[in-house]
């Protein structure tokens, strides 16, 4: 009796999210090994990464067993708690690389801005699912959601972590669009976005952030060598040609030409070793994952679930698109990791939790 109940649960369990992400992760860990094996001081990073992945998997699977309605119920609580943590970071955060992003709690270092990405998705979904559900959204309906998003965004930008701040705005944009924003309002928002980003650039950015944008727009104004990184990254990608140089054969990585080649620039190492063909496979995997998310968003029963899944999809999508775009020289170098590929515990944990939420929502689809 008991075993058959377990069997039923397993039959209903949606393995696709953890499955696809595991495949991507395995490609990522091999790539990380290749990117770091030549430099003695970071060659052990892939082991740390595996430990983090296992930890994230446990948390993610745990999350997948949370009943779907609880995401709805606790969304505000999580959001407010997260805001407090963000405030704490600003007051007594741990400094690293000129920015204040970490909170040290005993042996743990947490980055509240990472968790905030998920909190914002949950809160937005809850708000949208409770207000004017059966009509299209106008600008007036956006005032409260805008406030919900802007408070944490302002705190995160103040850290300063421009990349994450921008990412939250982009997620907000996708979720709002999905929640049937009027096309007229959409046009106005895009216009406002352009104006405000210009204003932000002129008044709100730190010099190194400005430099990155300037370097992107005009590599001639290279000040601290950000243009140099972009060029070395392009050389690495291009030199891979169609089939790549093969595993462990990246010369750019082994010669330390690329800085941060284990975090932000993993994709250029991947391209150098596996070429256009390898990227075709990797990007296809990502696309399958996105497709699965979007399919899930349209198959769940509740509007809240649907919005959450779409939010998670956009989180994955923007990370992937911006990271790949920046290493190819299509976008400024903003320092966003490539999901499941870049080295870094916090980002693995975030994506693990996201997969867990999606799985939980998927499992609860046919309960009624």
């Amino acid at each position: 009796m008991n075993t058959s109940a377990l069997w039923d649960a397993l039959k209903k369990y949606d393995f696709t999210f953890f499955g696809i992400s595991l495949v991507i992760f395995i490609m990522g860990i091999l790539n990380l090994y290749s990117a770091t094996h030549a430099s003695a001081h970071i060659s052990g990073l892939y082991q740390t990464q595996i430990k983090w992945y296992l930890f994230s998997l446990v948390i993610g699977v745990g999350v997948s067993f949370i009943q779907a309605k609880n995401f709805y119920r606790f969304s505000y609580l999580v959001y407010v708690a997260n805001l407090i943590l963000l405030g704490l970071v600003l007051v007594l955060g741990h400094k690293g690389m000129g920015a204040q992003r970490w909170l040290v709690l005993g042996p743990f270092r947490i980055q509240p801005s990472e968790i905030m990405k998920i909190s914002v998705i949950l809160v937005l979904a809850r708000w949208y699912s409770k207000n004017n559900v059966d009509s299209e959204l106008g600008l007036r309906n956006l005032i409260i959601p805008f406030i919900i998003v802007m408070i944490p965004t302002a705190l995160i930008v103040a850290e300063p972590d421009l990349g994450t701040g921008l990412l939250i705005l982009l997620i907000f944009f996708v979720v709002t669009f999905y929640r049937r924003l009027k096309l007229k309002s959409l046009a106005i928002i895009i216009l406002m976005g352009i104006i405000s980003s210009l204003a932000m650039y002129n008044f709100g950015l730190k010099s190194y952030q400005k430099r990155r944008v300037v370097t992107f727009l005009n590599p001639g104004a290279d000040a601290q060598g950000s243009g140099y990184n972009a060029i070395q990254s392009k050389i690495a990608i291009g030199s891979g040609k169609f089939f790549g140089k093969g595993f462990l054969n990246s010369s750019q990585a082994s010669l330390n030409y690329l800085p941060e080649n284990h975090t932000d620039f993993v994709f250029s190492i991947f391209n150098e070793e596996h070429g256009f063909f390898g990227s075709l496979i990797l990007i296809s995997l990502f696309l399958i994952l996105f497709y699965r998310f979007i399919w899930l968003a349209t198959s769940v029963n509740r509007i809240f679930d649907s919005l959450v899944v779409m939010g998670i999809m956009s989180l994955f999508f923007w990370h992937t698109f911006i990271n790949m775009g920046m290493v190819m020289g299509l976008m400024p170098i903003v320092g966003l990791p490539l999901p499941l590929m870049s080295y870094g515990g916090s980002s693995l944990l975030t994506f693990g939790v996201c997969c867990g939420i999606a799985t939980s929502l998927s499992n609860s689809r046919n309960l009624f």
């Binding site: 669009f177 049937r180 290279d222 050389i235 891979g240 040609k241 649907s306 190819m328």
Partner: protein, 663 residues
Amino acid sequence: MFGEDDIVKHHKKRADIIFNIVLFCFSILFARLWYLQIYKGEQLLLYSQENRLRKEPLKAPRGMVYSRNNELLVHNIPRFDATVTPQFLKNKKQTLAKLSEILNMTENKINKILKKNRGQARYRSIIIKKNISRGEVAIIETENFKMPGVGVQKFISREYRDKKVGGHLFGYISEVSQEQPPKFRKRDNFNYRLGDFIGQAGLEEKLDLNLRGLDGYEYVEVDAQGRKKRYIRDDDLFKGLENKRPKPGRNIRLTIDRDLQLKAYEALKDKVGAAVAVDVNTGEILAMISRPSYDPTQFSRGLTQRYWSSLINNDKKPLRNRSIQDHYAPGSTFKTITAIAALEEGIVDENTTVKCTGKFRLGRRKFHCWKQYGHGKVNLKKAIRESCDVYFYKVATQMDIDILAKYARMFGFGVRTGITLPNETMGLVPTREWKQKRYGQDWVQGETLSCVIGQSFVLTTPLQLAMSYSAIANEGKLYQPYLIKEIFNNSGEVEVKYSPKLISEIKISPETYKQIKSGLFEVVNKRKGTAWWHRGSGIQMAGKTGTSQVVNSSPDKLYNKCEEKEYRFRHHGVFAAYAPADDPKIAVGVVVEHGCHGSSAAAPVAKAIINEYMRKYYPELKKNYAIKERVAYSKMINKQKRAAAEKERLAAELEAAKKEEDE
């Protein structure tokens, strides 16, 4: 009203749009990948194989240092290092063998150096031998094509013109090393990188940010052997990579006079000690010498182990700048302060006399005068001139230590002068409160007796000593001593200009100054003055000798001859002076460790400095004095002649009278 299910269905259209946008975005990425990997692939592969793009650092030249008269004191000279770049090394064994032959070092040693640097990036060159000769440079440059990977690196050496003279003043520069804590590397909010040269002592440390300038870089293409091929021009891919020119460091003009500095260094020959000369009317430091010294040039060229250990293991500690980093008991030079305090507080006046028998009794303790059988009847002037201890013991019985401390502080004792040199010590002026805090004990009057003659707790640096005598000389203006006249950039524009800064105006009656100064004058210029032996030579100097006891109760007897004691028990010789006595221009403080007497060890140093200064800047004054002296001399001779003539006349008269009597 819809069911929730239906609402989700209403969003299907938007979901489709989103998925299409996702597909569109990724097709852009694919197009870009196609462009880079298929279209540009061949070209980029070439770049990647040869790593032809390199970012080369351009070091900014460090600023120079000049004397007050614009003589160059510290500058940079190119030297050459032999290097090996592992990335370009081909048939390693053969190449290294050849290199070892050229450089005259064993292959083993070269291999060891390479092994030590294995952790760093392979395209970075490793220095094999520093400071190679021009001949070696020529051989390597011509044989270069046979030994791929071997090269010559230009290196700018920091050289100090007068070698050991003023080594402490300039300090030295050396590479920021891996061992130095990260905190140190971020000193003054400047991001020092490994291998950067950084000022590690003296002015080089204090003015590092001014001197160092900003490094630049340039992008170069290199060939497979690592040789520069061409500078990046407008290849589409490298559009607009811009080089940054280095910004040279600022230059510094000091208040130091080079001739005076050399003279002081020479005068302190084989002594251990320090001498500081300051301009009485501005606080400019004219000379600052500490011996033994070191040659800072050795540091910037990479210190040999031998030189370093010779500095570190020397118990005379050549790395210390004794003029500010060490403090000494001022000895009798401090009696001037006691005398000022006594006059101002009305404890004595010029007519007060004390009978000195050579010892003074306080309770059950006996205090000795340096002169075993006493000075006899002593007034203030004589007490200063002959440095009578008993006179000041007597004063001490009526003066509280806190009063004395007040006057000492007024003249800058016990307070850091704030000179722009690192690790200045502040000396010590004891008070009741200080003793309570330090030892948890009450002040004892016997200690006051020691303090008034500058022994026991009182401590001063040679710089403080010079500054306090300068304030006496100019009658009450305590200046902040300074070393830097101006800081100017490479095109000669003055960026910062320093001017005299008055710390305080000491409010003391002119009458007091008059008496003190006449006492100090007699120390040098009147018979029985303690520095009588160093009078004259064209300039009238005023000053005070001091002998500071090293050990409170030395195992030898008090009146034993100092020179016969063991070196470490000998007294320090101290001398403080200013000149000319009637219109002071320069003040000098000298301490000679274990020199036994202020008058024999320290005074000649001060005299040499003062003479040199007067010769250089006030030759007419010196001439006038010489004339005055000559006039005085001829007067004396004439007097003697007259006396002799008179005697002769008298004798003649006497003889005449005798003759008359006889007849």
